[in-house]
Symmetry: C2
Subunit: 263 residues, 2 copies
């Protein structure tokens, strides 16, 4: 007959695990010898190996117990189901691997390839890395929040970049993170941006983007906090009848400065 460590060694488990299975009733307590040691027979080996085979497949011990105590046909069904789950788990892990590879190579996070390409295009335009990281973070949030929209939005961004004025805008923005709030170049950005917006409105290119309003506010707030000049830029634009950054909208004249008494 076998001692607990012989049993454990043969089934490839630890002594502690065997005792745990006794505790939860998964493996019946065997006879003891006169000194209280547990003594096992071959049936225990068989049962233990079955337990481990199922447990290694990720089956919770409670379900292992149900399966082993059920009839052979239920057992077969259960094993079939577990095998299906195993296949699904393997597929999941393979998907995780793919994401992980992109995480190492791409933008340090699982952004869709389209976004990575877009950020690379900005880099190619000479935009500084700090600004690109800000953009990237914004895209991370967009990817998390509205993954179904992201490819369409990216396509629109690519179109915009075909406009030389937009390229110029980015080259200005690139260095703007360190400007003081009263830097005159902030006005230059505002002028450029307004020209772009007017042109976009005339071309009928301003439509709904599909984003939630609050989400747009959140993205805007990160922009405002990124640089001292950002708030002033938005203020200038608002004076001229435009509001927002992530989504720039025309503000009707009668709704400008709503905090003033509209006597």
């Amino acid at each position: 007959m076998l001692t607990i460590s012989q049993l454990a060694a043969y089934a490839g488990v630890t002594v502690r695990a065997v005792r745990h299975y006794h505790q939860i009733g998964l493996l019946p307590e065997p006879e003891r010898d006169q000194s209280g040691y547990r003594i096992y027979d071959a049936a225990a080996v068989v049962r233990l190996i079955r337990i481990r085979t199922l447990a290694d497949a990720g089956v919770p011990l409670a379900r292992v117990q149900e399966l082993l105590d059920a009839g052979p046909e239920k057992f077969g069904d259960g094993v079939q189901e577990i095998d299906k789950e195993l296949r699904a788990e393997i597929r999941r892990l393979q998907g995780t691997r793919r994401r992980l590879v992109r995480l190492a190579t791409g933008e340090h996070l699982a952004l869709p390839q389209s976004v990575v390409d877009y950020l690379d295009r900005l880099r190619g335009l000479g935009v500084e890395e700090r600004y690109i990281e800000m953009e990237r973070d914004a895209w991370i949030m967009i990817a998390a929040q509205a993954p179904h929209l992201i490819d369409a939005v990216i396509a629109k961004k690519h179109e915009e970049l075909d406009d030389p004025d937009m390229v110029k805008l980015y080259s200005l923005l690139s260095g703007a993170l360190d400007w003081p709030a009263d830097d005159p170049r902030v006005d230059e950005i505002a002028d450029l941006l307004e020209r772009l917006m007017i042109r976009a409105v005339q071309a009928g290119e301003v439509g709904t983007d599909g984003f939630d309003d609050q989400f747009v506010d959140l993205l805007d707030s990160t922009m405002v906090e990124s640089s001292p000049g950002a708030a002033r830029l938005l203020a200038i634009l608002e004076e001229r009848g435009w509001r927002g950054w992530t989504r720039i909208e025309r503000v009707p004249a009668d709704r400008l400065n709503p905090e003033l008494p509209s006597s």
Copy 2:
């Protein structure tokens, strides 16, 4: 700015999880408003999404922390290593799937292939399943106690089965589990066995098997308990100068019946 539940919703986690990350220092505690509510900015969303991306890959949270706080080159190394672990896990699960398929019967998992083949050969000879199960349990014990010997012993058993008398012996033993102790066929078995032993001794095929003496006694005792006729069979053989079952030995004449006074 965001409340905890808004943050959680953006990143697709539960509020409880966010608080857990604060507790373990994975996500820095943000500012509080005047009533003690946590208020988050977009950077927290980004960090939280990164945490989830790694955690979904199965990375333990402690390691997520190391990775996110490390430089980009260490981050790359860490991701490489995680990918290696993922590959290993996938292979392990595929192996588990193969074992799961064989789980229907006990012996394939508990025994080396050589023993399974041997038992199949016995089945092929028409030996009944009950006897085979007894044999199987004995082999499980042997495999547990002396795994290094098992292939050699099995090889010897295969050789023995090349002898037609041995085949005949098994066909007799197969049905013998239910015989009464005084069944005349027990004597037939004894005769057959003695012929086989004498031939083996003459051929010089009797050597040490490497088993522990106590272990041999144990295997014999299970044989004795398996059937009423078993004890009588051993007694007959002992009268004729043979002792044992698992390991049959010639007993010197002066050591026969040692319990009698050797005056």
